[in-house]
């Protein structure tokens, strides 16, 4: 036990600095959130991940988010079990026929104000499974989508950066817009 504790105490704290994340240029498609919602979810955000026929690639990347390198929790973001507790829905994979009902129910079960993020190429436009008989090609065909994070699968850094950009970008732009107003 003692050796474990000593190892914990001594190992260096290595975590992706926030600045580096903000500088990453990721093109996130989707219009701005209103400032009130942004301010609301600034401090704390709970995400419910829905795998709608995904190839589990996006899920691997998302689990990596809560390790000590990326450590999503320091931004007040955490993954929750029930859509009732969730604010944001991460939907991955082209929505398969038998997941449609499940996805619609999850969407209905999430209280407002809620954000839907289609993560990974599969979710955005069907990716490699496009136009196959079993899928709807994209999440937006089933439920309204607010943001998209492209990539097959997008790396954790990209996901984290886009998340921060979704929640914080207007500051910069408001500073910008407030300046030029």
């Amino acid at each position: 036990m003692y050796r474990l504790l000593r190892k914990i105490a001594l190992t260096a704290k290595v975590v992706v600095p926030e600045k580096e994340l903000l500088l990453l240029d990721t093109e996130t498609l989707g219009q701005e959130l209103s400032s009130s919602i942004k301010k609301l979810f600034q401090g704390s955000l709970s995400i419910r991940e829905v795998a709608a026929g995904s190839s589990n690639a996006e899920e691997q990347e998302l689990t990596a988010l809560s390790n000590s390198y990326y450590d999503i929790e320091r931004f007040g973001i955490r993954f929750v079990a029930s859509p009732r507790h969730a604010d944001m829905l991460f939907v991955s994979g082209p929505v398969s026929r038998n997941m449609t009902e499940g996805l619609r129910r999850t969407y209905a079960a999430t209280p407002d104000p809620k954000i839907v993020v289609a993560i990974g190429d599969g979710a955005i436009d069907g990716g490699v499974y496009r136009d196959s008989y079993g899928v709807w090609n994209s999440v937006s065909d089933v439920i309204p989508v607010d943001f998209q994070i492209p990539g097959d699968p997008p790396s954790p850094k990209v996901v984290l950066a886009s998340l921060l950009k979704i929640l914080r970008e207007t500051e910069k732009s408001t500073d910008v817009s407030s300046e030029n107003k």
């Binding site: 859509p83 499940g102 129910r105 999850t106 209905a108 079960a109 407002d112």
Partner: protein, 685 residues
């Protein structure tokens, strides 16, 4: 008001019941509306009688000195001697209160029997039952008491087997009849021993002759009384008839039986240990406490594993009888080691729990009655979601469950808190044996209250919450106002009795002191600054301020939160079941709820499980067509104690049959031989 204190009022009371019972039989013949008028007549007069009884007991308790009179009878040694002193008036009051409310409930419940059973007969036995219940505390002559006791047993037997189309009711009735008379045998032993020791059947002479009884005789009398009245009260080894008989009776009768008839047995135990032969040695107190803790713990464990709603309440009656016995046993122990005022206090706790249990148990049984009336079955597995269909019943049922699980603002908590305090006092006494026994009592009481909370979450949840699991539960409808009114009154009473616990305990201490052998002195309680029981005033935990605080804090937080979140919307959607449209079969039922606790206590409960599998093709045994799992509780008492006794009796009986050879001459020979033997014995003795 003075009229209520005269013997005439008591006779008028029994006249009401007489008219109610006999009249109903004729009424039923006159009107051909399958018993509707007879039912109203019977329940009406029962209501009148009980209200008069309530008035008498209130006037005796608070204004008068008590009623005592004697009616001579034909037989020399048999006097109808009535005596209504403080303690008898208290029980008289409880009985008449619960029977009044049960009769009101009966008006609504009787349409359950139209056309199926004869309501005239029901009213006859119903009035006879209540009359005999009221006779028991008032009887002051041993034989008169035995008459009332027997009348009570017989009347309740006929009420238990009233719905005789169901086979299990008949069996339950037979077992009940057998066990009560087993108990009555011991009661008679106690009475006749007392008669032999004191030379008279009058209880007053017994009270006077306290000094002259040898300890041995007193011990046997106490033992016989404990077994006799214990059978009627339903202490653990003798309880097997209670969960059979109480559910079989119509609901308002089982409310009477569970809430009140059990209390008459405890009343007589109190009389025997404190009124007739006070000064029982300490060992009796410890024995009562051990029986009490055993009954409490095992009673609630069996209630927990029960799926039939009325059997569950019957087992919980066994548990509450155990708790009352704890208070009584503590009283006997303190009295024997000289702490009279603490004895007074723990007896007040026992009587308070008797009153509370009579109220919330009858509330729960009436609630169960209306649920059974609405759904038509007693099996909790087929209920579910009834709170939306029977809103008032659910509300009152919740109040009853809160009261019985002893939660603060209600009366159950007040009496359990008092029982705890009296057990704490016993714990600090000098003797080691007393300390050990009181430890066991506290341990069993705390486990019992924890399991009681779990049991009543299960009962309320499985019956009223979530979605209806069967068709009957789906189209259940709210019961008539006659059935809701008594439940409402009982719920209000159980709240009021919880709130002003102080005044109730003060009057109880006065009642017990009225027996004249214990004078309340100032008590110094080691455990709580809140108990000050001086001569005339007993202040216990101010439950009303706790209730007030809880109410205030609830309103404050509710208002603040409502203000903060008033602009938020509430959307009503389907229950979240991981996206799959799970039907009502997915929710938890009473059996699965108690499965974890039953598995933990499997050593005691010994659950049995048979699973039968049916394959499509017997020898291939790969594809299962259907699988059935049947879980149930084995009944150790019936297998362990009553079965062997039955076998032995049967064997003896079959031996005795051989004497009946069928030959007339043989019988005359037996006669002749006995004649000769008697002659020899007569001349030589």
């Amino acid at each position: 008001m003075e009229f209520l204190l005269t013997p005439a009022s008591v006779l008028l009371l029994f006249a009401f019941f007489f008219i109610g019972s006999v009249g109903a039989v004729f009424i039923e013949r006159l009107f051909s509306d399958n018993g509707k008028m007879a039912g109203f007549w019977g329940h009406g007069f029962a209501l009148l009688g009980s209200l008069l009884g309530l008035a008498i007991s209130v006037s005796v308790l608070f204004f008068g000195q008590g009623i005592a009179f004697t009616l001579p009878t034909v037989f020399p040694n048999f006097l109808l001697d009535f005596r209504l002193d403080g303690i008898a008036a208290f029980f008289f009051g409880i009985i008449s209160l619960v029977s009044a409310l049960a009769s009101i409930y009966g008006f609504g419940y009787q349409k359950h029997f139209y056309g199926k059973y004869r309501l005239g007969v029901f009213s006859f036995f119903y009035n006879a039952f209540i009359a005999s219940l009221l006779l028991v505390p008032i009887a002051n002559h041993a034989l008169f008491f035995l008459l009332a006791w027997e009348l009570m047993s017989v009347a309740s037997y006929f009420l238990v087997v009233f719905e005789n189309q169901k086979e299990e009711n008949i069996k339950a009735g037979f077992l009940y009849f057998l066990m009560t008379h087993f108990g009555t045998v011991f009661v008679m032993i106690a009475f006749f021993l007392a008669y032999k020791a004191t030379g008279s059947f009058l209880f007053d002479d017994w009270r006077a002759a306290t000094g002259t009884i040898t300890p041995l005789i007193q011990g046997i009398i106490f033992g016989a009384a404990l077994i006799g009245f214990g059978t009627k009260a339903g202490i653990i080894p003798l309880h097997i008839w209670l969960p059979e008989a109480h559910p079989a009776a119509p609901s308002h009768v089982s409310a009477l039986m569970s809430g009140v008839m059990v209390k008459t047995a405890l009343f007589m135990l109190f009389r025997f240990f404190f009124d007739f032969f006070p000064g029982a040695p300490m060992e009796w107190g410890l024995v009562i406490i051990l029986i009490g803790s055993l009954s409490a713990l095992l009673g609630i464990l069996y209630a927990l594993s029960e799926n039939d709603i009325k059997r569950l309440f019957a087992f919980s009656t066994v548990e509450n009888v155990g708790i009352i016995l704890l208070g009584l046993g503590a009283g006997v122990t303190f009295f024997s080691i000289g702490l009279e005022s603490f004895a007074l206090f723990s007896l007040a706790a026992a009587l308070y729990h008797t009153l509370n249990h009579a109220i919330f148990k009858s509330l729960l049984f009436l609630g169960a009655g209306s649920v059974v009336e609405a759904t038509g079955t007693r099996n909790m597995e087929s209920y579910g979601g009834l709170i939306k269909l029977l809103p008032f019943t659910a509300g009152f049922f919740l109040v009853g469950s809160l009261a019985i699980s002893a939660f603060p603002p209600f009366n159950g908590f007040a009496s359990e808190w008092l029982t705890f305090q009296s057990l704490f006092i016993g714990m600090t006494s000098a003797e080691m044996i007393i300390k050990v026994v009181f430890f066991i009592a506290i341990g069993s009481l705390v486990f019992t209250s924890g399991l009681a909370a779990a049991c009543f979450v299960k009962t309320f949840g499985a019956t009223f919450l979530a979605r209806p699991r069967t068709e009957e539960a789906k189209n259940a409808k709210e019961v008539s106002v006659f059935m809701l009114l008594p439940m409402g009154i009982l719920a209000l009473l159980s709240f009021l009795l919880g709130i002003n616990a102080t005044t109730v305990v003060a009057s109880l201490i006065a009642i017990i002191a009225s027996i004249g052998l214990i004078r309340p002195v100032t008590l110094q309680f080691p455990f709580s600054e809140f108990i000050q029981a001086r001569a005339d005033f007993a202040a216990i935990l101010p439950l009303e301020s706790i209730a007030l605080l809880l109410g205030l804090v609830f309103l404050l937080s509710f208002g603040a939160i409502w203000f903060v979140t008033r602009s938020r919307k509430i959307v009503v959607g389907p229950t979240w079941d991981c996206g799959t449209p799970l039907g009502p079969r997915g929710e938890i039922t009473s059996g699965s709820f108690s499965r974890s606790l039953v598995t933990i206590f499997r050593g005691i409960l010994r659950p049995t499980r048979q699973s039968t599998v049916e394959y499509h093709d017997e020898d291939m045994r790969y594809f299962i067509k259907s699988q059935e799992i049947r879980t149930s509780m084995s009944d150790p008492y019936r297998k362990g104690i009553y079965q062997p006794i039955g076998v032995v009796l049967h064997f003896l009986a079959s031996q005795a049959r051989r004497i009946q050879s069928g030959n007339v001459n043989m019988y005359i020979l037996y006669l002749f031989l006995t004649l000769i033997i008697l002659l020899l014995w007569a001349t030589h003795v």
